[in-house]
Amino acid sequence: MTKDDQILEEATSGEYKYGFTSNIEQEIAAAGLSEELVRFISAKKNEPEWLLAYRLKAFEIWQKMEEPSWAHVNYPKIDFQAISYYAAPKDRKKLNSLDEADPELLRTYEKLGIPIEEQKILAGVAVDFVMDSESVFTSFKKQLAEVGIIFMSISEAVQEYPELVKQYLGTVVPPRDNFYAALNSAVFSDGSFVYIPKGVRCPMELSTYFRINAENTGQFERTLIVAEEGSYVSYLEGCTAPQRDENQLHAAIVELIAMDNAEIKYSTVQNWYPGDKEGKGGIFNFVTKRGLCQGIRSKISWTQVETGSAVTWKYPSCILKGDYSIGEFYSVAVTNNYQQADTGTKMIHIGKNTRSRIVSKGISAGHSENSYRGLVQINKTAENAYNYSQCDSMLMGETCGAHTFPYLEIKNKTAKVEHEATTSKIGEDQLFYCNQRGLGDEEAVHLIVNGFCKEVFKELPMEFAVEAQKLLEISLEGSVG
């Protein structure tokens, strides 16, 4: 075993640091999926008739669909009847300040390292804290309301702005899009709704922390962001989950819509429980994320740092419909032990002079499998479209896998499409260089890995970038020395 192999091996033994369970009373629906359940969820949330109809239609579609099997992942078959589809904290009382919050909740924040008070004052981040599907409170609502921004849980939005939700829900990801999208459309629990009015630049980073908390509960988040003409919003999504033995299913949908000259920046740090070192347990993360650049010169930018989940199946995509619109995708996916990730993006060019850029960095260690799967489609109407894709993989360990499956479909001769991919490992010479300058092995590997991912990290908002680097170090602890 060469020296760097040894170093890599040593560090793979880190245990999941955010694995703890909060003891908050929860209301859980019995396991199983049926039309009654869909009605139950809808009634529980006091939803209008059209939304119930939407859910039922989606349920009908879902029943006819089959689980997709094309992804490069392996997992035991999911029993959709064994999952509970609804869990919400019992305490529904509205809160005005943190003092009123459950002290247990506050402790959870602390363990996660998010001092809410401090963030509120110093960082100016409005946190829409979602505790197992249900919004507990939304901060900074007033400040946002002043400029006309709507930022609330989607169930609230259904009550307060039914017209807006009705207009946009399911327009980017229709229920029949795929198996998990149909499932989500039928049983989605809660999520965030953001509406940025014309010409408004959101004064702060909007952020939601998701936690999967109740045991054996599927989590079906639904996020909808609409940016009107000339507006700008940056949205952060971050996740940590407690340690569990049973696999948990997470099938979220995120829909983004950008009108003329609007820009949406969506950043994710995903650190759900990846399972233990033997590959037992962990979250199944089957997410459909898609943005529609509806207007001219609109821009949607996805940035993701994926370190958690046992199985990830996720392709944040952009439909570049407006002329001169821009789509971006920056991703770091880290897999360790027996984790499996099949992730990438789709860039669908429809409008003229549309541009897209893909930067994907995959790091695999242990026995994990890490795949990039992406589609760049230049349609006939997309004159002068441009795409640049770069997919780099880094391998740590002799038993892991790194794969690249890019699809390029080009139907217009004016298109310029470039794709590059490389696969390599950390060189002994690189390690030696760092050692020479007084860095320990572990520090050296972190330095090299961070350098490898820098292009993506620099796209993250500052606070997130710090967290992402920390996460990366934790995830690779033990696999790197």
């Binding site: 391998l395 892991c400 690249t404 390029l408 298109a415 310029k416 499409v417 590059e420 490992k425």
Partner: protein, 441 residues
Amino acid sequence: MIVSDNKYKDQFTLLNKKENSLEAKAFARFEKMGLPTRKSEVYRYSNLSYFKNLSPSINGNIPHKIPEYFSHDYLKEKNVLVTINGIFSESLSTYEEEENGIYISCMCDARKEFRDIVESHYNETSKDYPDAFSEMNTAFAQCGIFIYAKKNALAKKPILILHLGYAQAEASLACQRNLIVLEENSKLEIIEDYLNLDEEKTFNINHFSEYFLKANSDLRINIYQEEENNFHFIGNKFFELDRDSRLKLSALNFDGKFVRNNFRVNLNGENAEATLNGIFINENEDHTDSRILVKHNAPNCQSFQTFKGILNHQSTAVFNGKVYVAEGAQKTNAYQSNKNILLSEEAVINTKPELEIYANDVKCSHGATCGQLDENAIFYAESRGIPREKAKKLIVFAFAQEVVQAIDNEDFKNFIERRLVHQLDLAEYSTYESVQSGIKE
């Protein structure tokens, strides 16, 4: 799609194969599989509906009259093997049966004379690779070509295999099958050429060749496919490479209504090296599908792929190259590149370069690009008095050079160059060609 109609079954019964024969087993597998549809990932971008209407030809489509074919004089010295509608034609071929340790014969004779070798190699490559067309080929294959290079045998001159189409029966598909075995330290060069002599009838082939490269052997293959509107080709070429062996393949595709080339290379021994290059120039409604799978099963192997596409009119093309690095295949070096030019509004290219890697100490990279001709380059040529249309063609010519120049048979290279000059109508600018041929003659 399960084979529903009985045409395959009827045809197969006519062949009178024994129940447990290789052919019968292959046919059973084929029946179960059926012709692939576009749902199948490996045929995703190719429409096979044309092949649905064909039935595999068994005996009897050898033309009564032997056609005249223009002699391919681009090789000064050569052995020529000819197949007509997929069947080896002894009378049209001119070759030495045994020369410098290289044995050439038809498959039927080889089954008797080289029984052990045929039995231990024939259809061995398709075992772990279920493909409907290769199974169909195994079931229906006619007498093909067998080439055997003895230990330490060095071929003095290249072998030219001419695949001719002539008066092929209506709606039939010729199943052409070859087996090529290179023993230790041997060296062989093959040129394959496809030609339809019949102006009215189409020429449909399901081709399947197996190549075994034993330790330290060396195989060069150049494939030349040029047909106007009436050529439909499905080709499977599977290679097994032992330690220190080298494979170099160039596939040159000019036109061809439907051409699918499926190359699969297994690098089974250390230090084996495979180079695969290709060009496809499509016009009108041509469709080219190049699928390459290079499997690195042993450490220290190298593979290189360079494929270039030039698409005009409503033509379409698919490139799907995959590098697979198995667990333990450390120190692998793999490179893959696919570059395409679209010359018209309607042309479509679908490209999918893949990497699947299970070893950590490897160097693998790939690149794919698609674009149109560089306006600056066109302007440069125009400003030096070259008309715009010609300027474009010159740039296309230059674009193809990377692959053309890599051909290591000088005669064949010059021929391809002349062919390109002709295709692009660049005679008056081809100082290259005149200089080259001037030196030669």
